[in-house]
Symmetry: D2
Subunit: 381 residues, 4 copies
């Protein structure tokens, strides 16, 4: 295929993606039990997209693992528009992952005393955490007391790993030490009290980074909007505003359109934990007409659980996909987070462009598997 040749010519390794060479199960130990083989998800590439990020700079081909027809095409369309606008700016600002144990005492007085005592021990906890990993560092700790129970939030940096296991082990070590040292034994305790937001969307994400906090923005000129979406900055702004007022009626967390589409496809391609899309898709999208009639579009992802080492990153096709982005290995997590933000932004532009141009259905279904060219024109997916 021409596309494969093009990427190979560009120096990318795509052996595992394109041929499915065998893998030694032993190599996967630690990633899977009951191993049977591989689920294979169609992988398409769109790009290049030009990024002027703090860490991600240049032209990137983006791998998407998905079976949703038209998805890759709509990203390609948005990338083209964004490139005409000079590419996207991106910045990954912060990175931390939390765990949240809780401790129940006989009374609220004891719980408050414990909270005060614990908050004095930051340095000790940092030392304990640091001993569990070369990369895990305790950055901050907070406590909220709910009557007789203290809910603690430990926030860690995790190097270039997604870090969910890393922070679990560090928190376990801190808790063990706490339990030895604490003046008053708790009635009960949990290592994770569901306060961390792990695997679920919560508005906490906006004030307490979980994972990486990355933003991307782009400014598009009227003629690009007209060319790519037969629309204008004013109309796209209006469409988005109507949708925001729609979302506000639903109690959703954050304000975004279809960030999950972008993240699920990249996460699966790049060996990230796809279950974390539930929280990583907590985003704030902005689609605004500037005073000059340009379109200002941005996405902020404050809860982007991604890593470029550890987890599933080493898997055959994941490694190839990360390498395609220049994001395989240490020192590259911020770069990867910025790329994710740019891709999410492209997805939002594609959605709002379709909304504003009245082509929402086409964008979703034009390339639909059975919908396209089927004799009776019916859609069955």
């Amino acid at each position: 295929m021409v596309r494969r040749q093009r990427l190979r010519a560009a120096g990318f390794e795509i052996e595992q993606i394109s041929s499915g060479a065998d893998v030694d199960p032993e190599q996967l130990k630690g990633s899977i039990e009951g191993f049977l083989g591989f689920a294979r998800v169609p992988l398409g590439v769109a790009g290049p997209v030009n990024i002027r990020g703090a860490a991600a700079q240049g032209s990137f081909f983006i791998p998407f693992a998905t079976s949703e027809g038209t998805l890759v095409a709509s990203f390609q369309h948005a990338f083209n528009a964004m490139n005409r606008g000079g590419g996207a700016v991106a910045l990954c600002a912060d990175g931390r992952v939390s765990r949240a144990p809780c401790f129940e005492f006989a009374s609220l007085t004891e719980a408050h005393a414990f909270a005060g005592w614990l908050l004095q021990r930051l340095a000790l906890h940092q030392e304990t955490a640091a001993a569990t990993s070369r990369y895990c560092r305790l950055i901050d700790q907070r406590v909220s007391v709910v009557a007789n129970t203290a809910y603690v939030l430990f926030e860690f940096s995790t190097g270039d790993a997604a870090g969910q296991n890393m922070v679990t082990l560090a928190t376990q070590a801190i808790c063990e030490r706490l339990l030895r040292d604490m003046p008053q034994t708790p009635l009960s305790w949990l290592m994770e009290s569901m306060v961390s937001g792990d695997k679920r969307a919560t508005p906490m994400a906006f004030r307490t980074t979980r994972g990486r906090n990355a933003s991307a923005e782009v400014i598009l000129q009227p003629k690009q909007l007209s060319r790519y979406w037969r629309s204008s900055a004013e109309n796209m702004e209006r469409a988005w505003r109507q949708a925001v007022n729609g979302a506000a009626q639903t109690g959703t967390v954050g304000l975004q359109g279809n960030v999950a589409n972008a993240l699920a496809a990249i996460f699966i391609a790049c060996g990230q934990d796809a279950a974390c899309v539930t929280e990583a898709a907590t985003a704030l999208t902005r689609i605004e007409c500037t005073r000059k009639g340009e379109l200002y579009a941005s996405v902020t992802l404050p809860n982007l659980i991604v890593g470029t080492v550890g987890g599933g990153t080493y898997l055959p096709t994941a490694r190839e996909c990360l390498s395609m982005l220049g994001c395989y290995g240490a020192g590259l997590a911020r770069k990867f987070a910025e790329i994710c933000a740019v891709v999410a932004l492209a997805g939002e532009l594609a959605l709002v462009g379709a909304m504003a141009s009245g082509e929402f259905a086409q964008a979703h279904a034009a390339g639909g598997r059975k919908g396209c060219g089927s004799p009776n024109g019916s859609a069955e997916s």
Copy 2:
């Protein structure tokens, strides 16, 4: 491998999963653009789990596509416990998928007049929707008026398809007819106003099914809890209650522990849209000690976007995984939904069991890739 032999001996076809035979790109048309090959996600199997569902009845091997170490093992553990308790009961009660256009008028008076007019036209809209697909049926329509804008919610049944494209096309047809017929032209309109909850967690899910609404429950005896989680019904109830009080501090939608883990792994294995896990993981988990000291555990998933036809279900490994569950093809979506609910329940039991036994970290990390057996004992994932 022994496991492959066992499943083959049981009559399951796992050629695509285990060997990665080549696929004709032409076959994938409609599912992917920019096709390059396949992302391969490790696939493990756990089971059998015994299910006494309304549609799903028998013993099932469950395929999980994941690279999270210990995930499959912890489901296997929970399945074993559940089987000892006689297996899980499950029921898929309802199925509908929504789209939500909006129409803006010059004044709130016009918007209300439109709302009244539209609500009279249900039969007409049903006819229009039915003409777009053999399977898509408009069940209900509702309107909320926000000053000059009417937000409409169309709810469709979609046969055994997940149905997101199907309802988009039906809604487009209805809207086109509306625009022709409506007495007052709107200032603007959107085919999807983000009121539907598509690709995001919203509490609407609990009162307006999106996808399938499936529940699973199991009753476990004290000796099983003691054996499998060194815990008791009372302690598991307490642990869950503390976690509920934790979650309540975060503004999360629904009450659940790690349903996303179960759903992401099954969705990827079975050719479902992994981006929909964001909404499908909106669940209500219950972990309760009965008056007899047994554990009553249940999960309700009111927003389970799944299908057994269309979408990615036909893909090589997805078809094998669905077939393994006896869920490939027409008439099987409720069965598949019930299985998903049972697996989600197992995941919740595993989580709460680990919480209550103080083995949360082990459950998460014991089998961690580098964590296990690495000389310095550090966790790096």
Copy 3:
């Protein structure tokens, strides 16, 4: 005082408000226990404001019970601006109040069977409800099943009463009949399961009216914006958009600025249940620049728990305040709801006007009690 004379001259009765004549405690029986006297809240009047509502038509003086300095003045300012724009349009669209019992069974199978059975009995329940009150009518019933428990939502119309007690008694009667008739005795049940949204903000409000659903809108010309807030439609739209993006980070319910200020002041003045402001303030405010550069401003209050009969409406000063609005007694609840919506709209305009003009602090504090004229300019409230 001049103001009292003016209102008296206009035919309003303000004896109780202005003089505090004594009240026979016997008269208050049913409204208060442990009666000691009255809490007196300062009552200011702003207006007139011109309203072109479906039910409320004319010029209205609005009573505000508050001790927040500058509050009444900022409403007066907004009323003046709105009057210049021709007054506000308002419409109360719907009215219903819900109660939500739940019934727990031995299994999810039984719970689903119950749900199916119950949904067949609407006519019977309507008959039962109607027998409890001349005004209470059961409009609809819905069920959501959470594993072995069925959560029912009964929706009633309540005439011109706020209706919280009315629907409680009707629901009790329905439940008693259910318990006699139901084929399977529940393990336990509650008459109110917190699904109704009573006394708390929930996004359900937008899709299931609780109380009255009222909207108000106004269009203001650039010169009015310039005159009253030294701002423009474009700047006010931008300010609101930034605030919406702020609110989206907090997980709040609805999108509104300070609707609680308007509603608390009117509710206390008019004998409404001030605790219901928690839910009634769930609103959707829109501040938008039209294509012509005008400002379109609207507020939708889908959850406005108000009545013009029953509750505290008969109390001495409440009756006077309701009468001042022409809203005391039967047949006037929709009118009162429309007035509330217009006042809430004025409050939102005042807020956004202050935001956009950079005079937020002045609007809040200029008239602050000690802040004004205190030698050192410090604010101590």
Copy 4:
């Protein structure tokens, strides 16, 4: 009346409450404009309730301003039960009030640079804030960057004032200085971006105190539960759990039953800002059966906007009510917050007791104005 005599004999001043002596309008300047007189809300007293708080210690009569029949009686009932259990423990842990300006820049790069710059200036901002008031102190500042806009959260302590105006003026002073000093002029800015949570329920309350953070707890013996609510700890726990699962379906913020009832009645009585009940009612209620079969009940109010100086506290009847609690003036805000938490707890006990005993309707309506003793038994309020 006997009750008045009893309170007078106990040394309480209730002249304004009981007689409505005239007030010089001049005295109210700063609290109200368009002054007409007073809205009079029936004031009932319940108590005494025994409190063993950190600041509030002793027996307290509690004033309630309400027109909801049975409300005061149900609190009296719960106080009696709580007193039998030795009274309630209470603790006010923290106190701070926030304001949240935002600053929009030309790009996300500038916004991040501004955020970094601002975070270095804490000491300077503290100095600026301190100069605006003897009582206002800036405790902390945080920034979240949403693409090109920095949302800042300033957290202040406000002495014994509720402090909403105080923090507004301090934030204005800080912003003015920021605007002079900042290296890059913002495109636009708002003094309040709706991130603070002012006048609305948000889950942020649980991790960022707004107002006072106060908890109360009580342990009740089985015989008390049997006597006061014909129920048991186990049944009350179950009832609450069902209600929690009900609330979880609605997307509500926090987990509580009817805290708004308690707070609205106290706030109006004591000259607090009743509009703040919308946020102050964000609570976490716990109703749990201990291992010994006792009932552990608690309420945590992390967002209790109250003050004992400033605002409406000086008003004639408010001062009397605050004095009745020993809470009028400086140094008493924590005490008042603890009392509020205990009263909220009583309200939650009364609700759950009614739920569990099947007397929900009676608790709500038995004393209903027309409901009680009316010949046809109908409820009309």
